[in-house]
């Protein structure tokens, strides 16, 4: 256990208070931007709104997972245990949206 604790500590000392503070600030700014875009009628009704909100959401998600959950610095096994199921879950979600007609691909011509 002590060996494990040391291994974990070694992996987690890469992140310091300054990084945590910056990560919190970036997350806060992204959240403010998301809500601000929601209240911009011209943008909220444009075709760019949904992709922009999704991209911001994905960035926020990735930042928390990489820095707060330490996956950027942690062991590959942990990364595999999280990224593997997450990828399959997202693939199933997208497949279901296609299956139930929520998403569609319009062939040109």
């Amino acid at each position: 256990m002590e060996h494990h604790a040391q291994l974990d500590a070694d992996h987690q000392t890469h992140v310091d208070w300054k990084t945590y503070r910056w990560v919190a600030l970036v997350l806060l700014v992204f959240t403010i931007v998301e809500v601000w875009l929601y209240y911009l009628p011209s943008f909220a009704q444009s075709r760019w709104f949904v992709p922009t909100i999704l991209i911001i959401g994905v960035i926020k998600f990735a930042i928390v997972v990489m820095f707060y959950m330490h996956l950027k610095y942690d062991f590959k096994l942990f990364r595999a245990l999280f990224v593997g199921p997450l990828t399959v879950a997202i693939a199933i979600l997208i497949s279901l949206l296609f299956l139930f007609g929520k998403l569609s691909i319009h062939a040109a011509g």
Binding site: E2, A5, Q12, Y20, K102
Partner: protein, 213 residues
Amino acid sequence: MATAALAHAPAHKHHTSTGLDSTKIAIWAFIGSECFFFASLISTYLIYKGRSLVGPFPHEAWTNPATGEVMKPILNIPVTSFSAFVLLMSSLTMVLAHSAVLRGDRKFSKIWLLSTAALGATFLGMQAFEFTSFVHEGLTISTNLFGSTFFVLTGFHGAHVAAGVLWLVTLFFIDNKRGLGPRDAINVDVCALYWHFVDVVWIAIFALVYLIK
């Protein structure tokens, strides 16, 4: 002396074939399974989105059949944005709690653990306020497809937050009683991983349910 030694003794000293702590492997496997759980709830919400026959609706105005009154969309974005902010800040206090435990700083480990639990409880209070106001406006779990999928998705997320708050309060009491040191860091780390996962799920819910019309 013996009691003190026992109190700080490793919780489970064992060899693993990976060289990694089994508890941490287990929490990552659990989080992986939770990805499927929340993906199923989110996909159900998205599939039924816009298919409700009667109001209230999340983003569209609707007419109350009983009074004929035109009602506003039901989602309260300012309140939920503040909830999202509270949960994001709780992730910051959680990493600070973990960092304090790694340093063996008992004073700040207690402060940050309690702050995280308090922020989690604030989030739950705001969710209770949201649910109550929805019920007063006529949206229950059985009103329409939006109500069913919305309450199930956000309710399960809220239940996860509640479990996290209980876990944090337990760690706080242990810290208060005997102190959490670097040897206990793995136990706080496991709780932190769960807490951050609950936060990332909210990031997804906030974008997909509340912001995207």
